[in-house]
């Protein structure tokens, strides 16, 4: 398996051409090849949600997605959610205000999931938020504050 493939990825509105081992996941392409380490590797087997990014606007586990599968489709990572040095996305601002994280390692995945959760219309109540955010584990136990942050951001968006 020495064959490499060349793909074009659309990451946060920028086109990136990569020559890669075809086994490289989208997560490793971001972290190891593009220096976009905001997307986290918590389990590498689709169980924790830390690697959540948006592909075609929907939340996706980048550890279970080959980089090649994302070729030509718009990918948004935590680094692309708000402009560098610009205003925070309302979900980010709400996370900061409500202390919806401690160690911060699951946080980019939580935020990407939360943005999608609100966009999907699944942030109508605390119960619904808990259910639709349940795929993103947080061992620090920030869940009550994550719910509060998502609720606030959802209310602002509506």
């Amino acid at each position: 398996m020495t064959t490499e493939i060349t793909i074009e990825l659309d990451i946060n509105g920028r086109s990136e051409t990569l020559t890669l081992d075809p086994r490289v996941t989208l997560l490793d392409a971001l972290r190891e090849h593009l220096g976009l380490t905001g997307t986290k590797k918590g389990c590498d087997q689709g169980q924790c949600g830390a690697c959540t990014v948006h592909v075609d606007g929907a939340r996706v586990l980048s550890c279970l997605t080959l980089a090649a599968q994302a070729a030509g489709r718009p990918v948004t990572t935590i680094e692309g959610l708000s402009a560098p040095g610009g205003e925070l996305h309302p979900v980010q601002a709400a996370f900061l205000e409500h202390d919806a994280f401690q160690c911060g390692y699951c946080t980019p995945g939580q935020i990407m999931s939360a943005v999608a959760c609100i966009r999907e219309g699944h942030a109508g109540s605390d119960e619904e938020i808990r259910e639709y955010m349940a795929g993103n584990l947080c061992r620090c136990g920030a869940y009550p504050h994550i719910v509060a942050a998502v609720r606030q951001a959802a209310e602002m968006a509506s």
């Binding site: 925070l88 911060g104 980019p108």
Partner: protein, 765 residues
Amino acid sequence: MTLLDTPRKHGDASDGGAIGARLSRLDGKLKITGAATYALEQPVDGLAYAVLVPATIGAGRVARIDVAAAKAAPGVRLILTPDDDLGLQPATDWNNVRASDGPYVPLPRDIAYNGQPVALVVADSLEQATEAARRLAIAYEEGPVTPGLDSPNAGEGSPLDQLSVAWGDAEAALAAAPVRVEAEYHTPREYHAAMEPHGLIARWEGDRLTVWEPSQWTHSMARSYAEWFGLPPENVRLVSPFVGGGFGSKGFSYGFGAIAAAAARRLGRPVKLAVTRPQNFAAYGGRAATRQSLALGATEDGVLQAIVLRGASETSTVGTWVEQVGAATPLMYAVPNFSARQRLVAVNTVTPGALRAPGKTPSAFAIESAIDELACAVGADPLEIRLRNYAEEDPQARKPWSTRRMREALAEGAEAFGWARRSREPRSMRDGHQLIGWGLATGTFPVIRNYGEALVRILADGSAEVVTGATDIGQGTYTILAQTAAEALGIPFERIDVRLGDSALPGAPVAGGSKLAGVMTGAVQKAAIAARDELIALALNDPNSPFRDTGANTLILADGRISAPRGDGPVVSVGELLGRIGRERIEVRRDTLPDHLQTPEGRFRAWTTMTTVQGPTAGDYSMHSWCAHFVEVRVDEDFGTIRVARMVSAFDCGRLYNPKLAESQWKGGIIMGIGMALLEEGLVDSRNGRVINNNLGDYLLPTNADVPDIRVIDVGIPDPHASALGGKGVGEVGIVGVAPAIANAVFHATGRRVRRLPITLDALV
């Protein structure tokens, strides 16, 4: 001496000032934008990627490893196996003891547990290393396996006489007691499961080693690497600016680190080793399984006469870890007769380790369940029985509590929860098909003290920096140290920067034992006051200072500006003053070490071992944090499914440096306790000692959907004996007592007393 009086603080919002304010995290913006760079994310050129290969037998030895196929795989640069002499020496342990019997061998031929590393494969890419690792042909000679504490061949283990505690005549008093409750309680293996897996990047430059590795204790881990490789301590730098959760697992260097660093040295190229999620269940140990036989003897009114505890916990066959099941038992209640003993049973597991509130957590599960059983036996309310047996002093040390606001915790928790509306009988509250149970349990964690060192810089632009090697694993070190410096310096919080997580920086103890905040706020305050005093002295005395001729003998530094106390002189910003007197910065380094440790050896020992730690009863008082948890569970009558519906917990942790962050830690501890009560259990294959559920889908952690609304209440007051600024420990006490509170609530809901964690539906149907 200080030129300014520090105003007395009371620990509430009325103080004003930065300490005690509900500020958002200093490092928050970096974490929510993805800009916080964790250990394995450091940009290092020329990386090779390593993959660890774990043993698939529970005990025995590696007969041979055929590396030919792996070596021939594309991109492979190096394979290390037990056939390789890595040339390492033993490292000093936390007791400052260094083994002298031969080399340190992190890739031994003998296998003591399933998952033990047997090889490391290094290649140009992760994909290549992963593929090559699969091609290793490993032949084992299997030996007999003791998979766990309750295995038939585990035996009774060895007594731990140093942990025996006794006063009065507990056996006789128990025999004579009119009321006795006796039962056996079990807790399983539990795992840290921090969201950031372990791993490291190791880079050599000549005989200098830099290690980027998540760390709760940079100085001690750097020392381990230096000793393994026979280097002077200053040749190793361990860097860990952000840590994705630790919970006790990231305080020490482990064998995989030694192997990866040895590989990097041999290759002459930096190596990144990411320990995979399944490997995180055996690369270092979680909480040891425990069992406790606990007997309470009491009067017919439920007044305790005797407590007898006989406990056991597991360790490995190659190392010693004691999960002290009697850690909380002697502290909780006044009792005239007490006896506790513990045995240690060696099984084929990785050596267990410290997991959030080690000892206290399983200990509280037994005593706080048993006291509930006693309440039932004598027909008392669970809150009332705790007041009847209230410990007015430390029953073991016979010392007064420094502060113990347990009565307030029980009262305020009960009020907020509505405990008075609880009906006494089990199965007496329901909502349709749901049986409702209300349970209560209390918790404790000791105040542990140590020493720290910090550097404070006041810079020409009027901002300031705090620098120390302590780490922030999510508990909020960055934030509270900035708050401490802001208040001591009179410079706004927003103008303070904090640098942490690097063994090249000033010394600090482990971020563990809930002590780092108390230790490091003390060190930072000391350094900051000294820096402020130096600035004021310059302002009063420097020929170019505008204050030189004002006749003032002291000055006020507030909001980044210096003025005379009478308010009639000039008002100058800190930056402006430094400019006028021609100074680029004021820099002060201070530590809190006592005189006898003010030597190079003493400092090194203080920053790299546990030998300078002072326990909760080292002084005139017994010092602990306390809490009371109130839980409502709902149990489906037909299916036995258990949901925690709501919780109220009240805490006495002394003064809070930042209530917003402290509440997050309390809730986090509580949520880990929900996991312990209902979900978490390492399942071991009895044939080969393998942890079967070694992943985050099968080792169940609480998810967002498992966690209800949690209300936390602060009942603490500043404790001047506990720390320089009056705080007690915050990070661990939250988990202590949650599991028994839930078990007690399950009993109240169902009438079933479950004494084996986790409580799953099969115990209820």
